[in-house]
């Protein structure tokens, strides 16, 4: 699965995107937990105030995802 990170989350983890394997029936929340286990920066960046999207559509943590999906994590938006 492709995971993309944006803004503070990208900066704190030093990671713009990564590939990761996910088990069947994995949820977005499961993906977030797996990423947070990668180290203290990841823990910090993904612990609070994080929105997520699956295939560029906003979704919540219960969404089931698969290897072919593009999942993204980002903070609340501040454009305009």
């Amino acid at each position: 699965m492709k995971v993309k990170l944006f803004a503070q989350i990208r900066e704190v983890t030093g990671t713009e995107s990564l590939e990761m394997a996910v088990p069947d029936d994995a949820t977005i929340e499961g993906v977030r937990q797996a990423l947070m286990a990668k180290g203290p920066q990841w823990q910090q960046a993904l612990s609070a105030n994080v929105l997520c999207a699956c295939n560029q559509t906003l979704c919540d943590g219960n969404m089931v995802v698969s290897e072919q999906d593009e999942v993204a994590f980002f903070p609340p938006v501040t454009g305009g």
């Binding site: 803004a7 503070q8 105030n49 929105l51 906003l58 903070p75 938006v77 501040t78 454009g79 305009g80």
Partner: protein
């Protein structure tokens, strides 16, 4: 309708002309444009510009959905959005929104609505620069997920 994200600056005249060059132009008695520009200060003092990050693909799609929603809601004859990204100095143009309608109140309301929705629900993130230091701008809303929910809902329709 047009929704674009670009690093390049934009021309007011070119965007106005593009907005008014449509097959219902003859019924568009009112054209409203909004342009957001980089202010040289924030709540903490002087700044030296901003930097905008976006989510290629998702951002354009959110802008397009926003235009479609506003067009249906306010009886627009046409509408457009251009949002710049990357590093922008003070006073630079950041975002342009244009609306055409038969009546001026629709054009005004739609442009204002598009900007309100854009600020709370389109995936763009801003940092402010002061000297060599940059700070991500904190979101104002308390429930940003709720604010963005329409992006989920609309796609299911």
């Amino acid at each position: 309708m047009f929704a674009r994200v670009s690093e390049a600056d934009f021309s007011q005249q070119a965007l106005y002309d593009e907005l008014c060059e449509h097959n219902q132009a003859s019924q568009s008695g009112a054209v409203v444009t909004f342009t957001g520009r980089v202010r040289d200060y924030n709540a903490g003092g002087a700044i030296d510009g901003i930097e905008l990050e976006y989510y290629p693909g998702m951002t354009e799609s959110a802008l397009q959905q926003l235009l479609e929603q506003a067009t249906a809601r306010f009886k627009l004859t046409n509408a457009g959005i251009v949002h710049r990204v990357g590093r922008l100095p003070n006073q630079a143009q950041i975002v342009w929104v244009g609306t055409c309608a038969a009546h001026r109140q629709d054009a005004f309301s739609a442009a204002s609505y598009i900007m309100d929705m854009l600020k709370q629900s389109v995936p763009i993130w801003k940092k402010e620069w002061a000297g060599d230091t940059s700070t991500w701008v904190a979101a104002k809303g308390t429930d940003s997920e709720a604010a963005m929910r329409w992006l989920t809902d609309d796609k299911d329709k």
